[in-house]
């Protein structure tokens, strides 16, 4: 995986800022490279993904159209590339919103415990047992059409996963000796949370982040397939599948192209999650606290 090589930039960048761990730099470099890659993908599009050439509808793959054209005479390959940007950026935004809010709630309840913990966790469980996609449909139905509605809906459903995981991790960390030691030294609670516990729970957060990214991409495609989110004609993978349904039998490639792209993309992100998880798991303590 070429993108994973960007981890190697870590040590180089690390020289310029010796206070920050090289692996943090590696991760940051990776994220930047991945986002840039997705952003520049559309520039490789051979055709305008929005331009319909009705005389060239349902063309087979060829030199002009690498994956052929759809029923509206638009280049399928170019649409996939544009879709990558839309899908990835929207999904990242959902994950950022959900992870931000969910982790904050999780850390808070984990640290506070007691009544707040019980109430918030019961609420999270309540949200979790409901079918996520159905809730998303209701929320985006209430908010009206548009990309924002779907992003908010997915984040609103998804933050509870982060809250629950983070709360459990914080509970576990709280019981560890280094926290007890800090408490014994009279370090205030917020400082324990920010300076001692938070760095130690970054690994599970990152791992969860990658897995949830793939969940969000799948759900996003599912919701657009159902007609929520982007407007008709937008090159979005789920939407492309929905629009090709009526030609499924005669031209299965129209469904397979976005379908397999989603599958491949989701598998890749999951593998990335494994890689990140592995890298961080073994040397977690030494990584964040090199001087311990």
């Amino acid at each position: 995986m070429a993108l994973a090589q960007s981890f190697a930039l870590g040590p180089i960048l690390g020289r310029f800022a010796p206070g920050v761990s090289r692996r943090v730099w590696g991760l940051a470099a990776f994220v930047v490279v991945a986002i840039v890659a997705v952003l520049i993908l559309p520039f490789f599009a051979p055709n305008d993904p929005f331009h319909s050439q009705f005389l060239h509808r349902l063309q087979p793959p060829g030199l002009d159209y690498p994956l052929g054209t759809d029923a509206m005479g638009r280049c399928v390959f170019s649409r996939l590339l544009y879709g990558a940007r839309l899908t990835t950026l929207s999904a990242l935004l959902v994950v950022a919103l959900a992870a931000g809010f969910g982790s904050a709630v999780g850390c808070l309840t984990g640290m506070c415990g007691g009544f707040i913990d019980r109430v918030v966790m019961r609420f999270c469980e309540g949200v979790s047992v409901l079918p996520a996609l159905a809730i998303c449909m209701i929320i985006s139905g209430v908010l009206g059409l548009g990309l924002q509605a779907v992003i908010i809906a997915l984040a609103a459903v998804h933050w509870t996963d982060y809250a629950r995981v983070m709360r459990n991790v914080v509970m576990v960390e709280r019981g560890k000796t280094y926290v007890t030691a800090a408490e014994a030294l009279g370090v205030p609670g917020h400082r324990i949370a920010m300076r001692h516990i938070l760095p130690n729970i970054a690994a599970p957060l990152l791992t969860l982040g990658t897995y949830s990214l793939s969940w969000v991409i799948l759900s996003f495609a599912g919701l657009s397939f159902l007609g929520l989110g982007v407007e008709p004609g937008t090159p979005e993978w789920g939407r492309m599948i929905a629009e090709s349904r009526s030609h499924l039998r005669e031209y299965p490639r129209l469904v397979l192209a976005p379908g397999l792209t989603i599958v491949g993309f989701v598998i890749a992100i999951n593998m990335l999650g494994d890689v990140i998880g592995d890298r961080f798991r073994d040397t977690r303590a030494s990584y964040f606290h090199p001087k311990d």
Partner: protein, 525 residues
């Protein structure tokens, strides 16, 4: 891990869909052939036709107000029926006379009984019509009935609020079906349809099927088959697959892309015919839309090549619509059709103060942008809407396309927050111009949500319905339709072509041009 399971499920589903779509046909079709060849013919087994339908045969609930199905399936009859050229022909009424401009006499058929054995007579007809008018707010508008009187057992007198020549045609509308009293319980609540038709209602299973059986006491020619099962299969691909798998014998509303394939397959009969039905862009002619300028409405009409709409959105299954009523209906007066004419449109737009800058029509620096709404419950609507919007875009008019549910779309339409809503109606359904012109385009009509007001059109439509068939009526409606072309509150897009397919052994099916009549009486297998 939970997320992981979801991903796995997603993967499995994606692969299953992909693989399934490839092999479903190949795997299922031989099985169907074998079944048909080896199935023993048992004399006592009832002859059943299984029909796959796009809409639920009794939609939402078994309420009469919702269902054209009772007429479509001929569980219930209407007083007047329409033949295959949409001419009114005797149904439960043998003949009708207009004894004065506002009074009609309907002579009812003798010896007709309801499925429960009770007799059909003028009392029963009066009861049923009054019921329908009470149940359906728009039935009163449609029928214009002020008073129904029973003259004798076989004569029904209907008095209309104004001279109303369209009454016999309107009485063929599916909503005017003759419910037997047994259709309702003691409290007047609807139970199940009891009618006089060739098929009697047996069972309805929500979201699944409706079953009817032959009624031996039917007044007309008895059906050949014993039983029909209407199966609800909303997904077009699944419905066609069910036919190919031998699960159903007849399906309607084929996907355009399936028509060529099934036609080439000798195991199936494909039925295709232009029928009542028009896909059109209903323009908001009110203050909230730029399209309240007639020049823009006409320009938009001239900028859309309907041939491309039919080819691009419907794989050629449809007739390009350049006027309101489909030209094959003789009773509709001829009008000047629209034409795809970019130059004329440019002249109109320029005249209206727009200028084409960088390929985009603009006025005062703002691009001409149209908000186009439609609904996705009818599969072909998004495709038609998108092609229409794309064609406008290619001509330099920006569009903002949004898909809703039917109700969701109506919310915006009623508030006037749209420029064009793409809809489908069957204006030719009763074989008379009055139906749609009066109920949708008259400025006083409840269903006129286009804020289009044209006094001359109103007056012509009000006059037209009072006139008997003839030159005067044709001239009146001809003028009204010409206004509809020139003042252009609509963009006619596609005239509907009905397509259905059946197994090869199904014989005798004919496509009825109203679009609301299966006529399975003569079908055999």
């Amino acid at each position: 891990m939970k997320t992981r399971n979801k991903i796995l499920t997603g993967l499995v589903l994606a692969v299953a869909v992909a693989v399934g779509s490839f092999f479903a046909v190949r795997n299922l079709m031989p099985a169907a052939t074998v079944d048909a060849e080896t199935a023993p013919v048992v004399a006592s087994e009832p002859k059943t036709l299984v029909v796959g339908t796009m809409w639920e045969a009794l939609p939402l609930s078994i309420q009469p107000r919702r269902s054209r199905f009772f007429n479509e399936s001929e569980i219930l009859d209407t007083l007047v029926k329409l033949d295959y050229d949409l001419n009114p022909v005797p149904g439960l009424a043998l003949s009708w006379d207009r004894v004065s401009p506002t009074v009609w006499h309907f002579n009812l058929r003798d010896g007709v009984t309801f499925h429960d054995g009770s007799a059909f007579d003028a009392d029963a007809a009066k009861y049923a019509l009054e019921r329908v008018i009470a149940l359906l707010p728009y039935a009163a508008d449609l029928l214009n009935i002020s008073k129904i009187t029973v003259i004798d057992a076989k004569t029904l007198e209907i008095e209309t609020t104004e001279p109303f020549a369209a009454l016999p045609n309107q009485l063929s509308d599916a909503i005017t079906v003759m419910y037997g009293k047994a259709s309702f319980d003691a409290d007047g609540q609807f139970v199940s349809p009891v009618g006089t038709g060739p098929w009697k209602f047996v069972e309805y299973i929500a979201q699944d099927r409706t079953i009817v059986e032959r009624f031996d006491g039917y007044w007309g020619d008895k059906p050949v088959l014993d039983r029909i099962e209407y199966r609800y299969i909303p997904d077009h691909n699944s419905r066609t697959l069910a036919l190919e798998a031998g699960e159903v014998d007849f399906v309607d509303n084929l996907l355009p892309s399936d028509v060529a394939r099934l036609s080439a397959d000798e195991k199936f009969n494909v039925y295709s015919k232009p029928i009542a039905g028009l896909y059109y862009g209903a323009i908001n002619a009110g203050d909230k839309s730029v399209l309240n300028d007639v020049r823009l409405r006409r320009a938009v009409n001239a900028l859309i090549d309907r041939n491309t709409v039919v080819a691009g959105a419907l794989d050629g299954i449809g007739e390009p619509a350049w006027q309101f009523f489909a030209p094959q209906f003789d009773w509709a007066p001829k009008v000047t059709p629209h034409a795809f004419d970019v130059e004329a449109a440019s002249a109109l737009l320029t005249d209206a103060g727009y200028e084409k800058i960088d390929g985009t029509w603009q006025k005062d620096g703002a691009p001409l942008t149209l908000r186009i709404l439609s609904y996705s419950s009818r599969t072909e609507m998004p495709a038609i809407t998108e092609v229409m919007a794309t064609l406008l875009k290619q001509q330099g008019i920006a569009t903002d396309v949004q898909m809703y549910t039917w109700e969701g779309m109506l919310d915006f339409v009623k508030r006037g927050e749209y420029d064009i809503s793409v809809v489908f109606w069957t204006p030719e359904m009763t074989g008379h111009p009055d139906l749609h012109l009066k109920s949708q385009f008259h400025s006083k009509a409840g269903l006129n949500q286009q804020f289009w007001v044209n006094a001359e059109f109103d007056q012509l439509v009000d006059t037209g319905r009072t006139l008997d068939a003839g030159a005067e009526r044709d001239a009146t409606y001809g003028r009204a339709l010409e206004i509809l072309q020139q003042d252009a509150p609509i963009i006619p897009l596609v005239h509907k072509v009905y397509v259905a397919a059946s197994a090869k052994d199904v014989a005798g099916f004919r496509v009825h041009p109203s679009g609301f009549f299966y006529d399975f009486k003569n079908v055999s297998r």
